[in-house]
Each structure stands twice: as structure tokens, then as C-alpha cells.
Symmetry: C2
Subunit: 133 residues, 2 copies
């Protein structure tokens, strides 16, 4: 059985990615691995850790309600999120990675974030990119 | 019933996109719309037109063999391929666009083509990006 792996951030594009990833895991009959990467470092203090924990509780509630088999990975290890996502996807024999993209800026600047580009180019499986509504 | 829309070019990444799009249309029980854009212009002479036609025959054979309902659109109208793909996806109420990405260059240059970026950022539905094997 393959897996769907999704990169989650507590932002509109991260929620959109999570919602889509739940649908895709259901459609494919696979397990869903949710990856939430924190860079760690000086900004990741006790407050940040508590906030991250409560965000993850909300994600866990959403996953439980969706009724898909899932695995929630919260990583604080200082790697780039792209590296975390790609290595977890490989380790889990992912058939699909789902990522959220930020909407274009109001001036319509045409730039994809470097993390998104890296995942799109380096992932060993297809990557599904979604935007927030 | 939604559709899956795929951008096809006669290159390894285009073949990979077509193969994946057939799988996705089957999985979702949707129709598949295959879009092949030519920019037209001076280079699109009788030879180019013949070559394009024989490429499309090969695509048609692959689609017929796959047994998914499909629609093959060959466009020669001078728009950017991204615009063609996005407008056809909208007109067909697409639930998914599939695109092929070129592999990174041997020196590992981290750049997504401008067409791919535009589709990822401007499409109104999720975009599945695949690379050639």
C-alpha cells in the first residue's frame, strides 16, 4: 500500500493541502502522512512549541474526523521543509506528495517559493499543488 | 462529471504526464482532455504540421488503448501553452490539471520553467506535476 504525504503549515494554503490530501488518500485507499516541519533555532521557544502543539491538536482532530489512516510527524530539526518532506515521502514509499502554494501577490508577482520549486523538482513521486480558496 | 486536463508535448515529460493523466482519469472516473499547444509562427510549416499530426496519431492510439473517454485538442494559435491549458481547464470544469516537468539540468540548476510556474500559480484547480522516469 502506498501513502500520500502532505506538507502542513498552519496557513490557508496548508489547510487547503491537508483537505486535498485527505481526499486523495481516501480516493486511493492509502494511508496519509502529515508532515509539519519547524526550522527550530532561537525563535522556537516555549511559546512557539505550545502554539505548534495546539495547531497539531487541531490537525489531529481533523484527521480523526476524516477517518483516514494517518501518521502525524512534527519535525523540529533545522532542515529545510523541502528536505523533510522529500525524505519522509521516500521512506514511506509515497505515491503522491501534496503541497500548498501561496497565492500570487497582489501585484501578480510570478514567483514560486524555493521550497515548492525544490519539492516539485526533486520529489521522486508526482506532486499535487493546491492553492487556498 | 469533472475532467482531468493534461498538457501534452512529445517529450519524455509529456509522455509521463499523459500516462499519469490516464491513470488519474481512470481513478476519478472522469473524462480526459489532452491539450497539445503549438505556438504557430514561422517555424510551424507543412513539415512541422505533418510531424505534429503523426505525434497526435500516436497519442490517440495510446488513449484508445487505455479505454478512457477522451478529447484531444491540438491548438495552433500563438498563445502561451500555459494560457491554453488554463483556459481549457476552466472551460471543461477540470478537477485536475496534469503537467510534465523537465528534469533538473545536470548541474542541478533549480529553475522551474515559466510555463510550469504559471500553470501552478494561475490554475483554478489542483495541478499534478510529474517528471519523466
Amino acid at each position: 500500500m502506498g501513502t500520500v504525504v502532505v506538507g502542513y503549515v498552519p496557513k490557508p494554503e496548508g489547510e487547503a493541502a491537508l483537505t486535498k490530501a485527505i481526499e486523495e488518500a481516501r480516493l486511493r485507499g492509502t494511508k496519509l502522512v502529515v508532515v509539519n516541519s519547524h526550522r527550530g533555532g532561537q525563535d522556537f521557544d516555549a511559546d512557539a512549541a505550545r502554539r505548534a502543539e495546539s495547531e497539531m491538536d487541531a490537525v489531529k482532530a481533523k484527521l480523526d474526523a476524516a477517518g483516514v489512516e494517518h501518521d502525524l510527524r512534527q519535525l523540529v530539526r533545522g532542515f529545510e521543509p523541502a528536505e523533510d518532506l522529500i525524505s519522509i515521502a521516500e521512506a514511506n514509499d509515497a505515491e503522491l506528495i501534496v503541497i500548498g502554494l501561496r497565492r500570487r501577490s497582489p501585484v501578480g508577482k510570478l514567483i514560486l517559493g524555493s521550497n515548492a520549486q525544490r519539492i516539485l523538482l526533486d520529489a521522486h513521486c508526482p506532486v499535487l499543488a493546491v492553492k487556498a480558496d
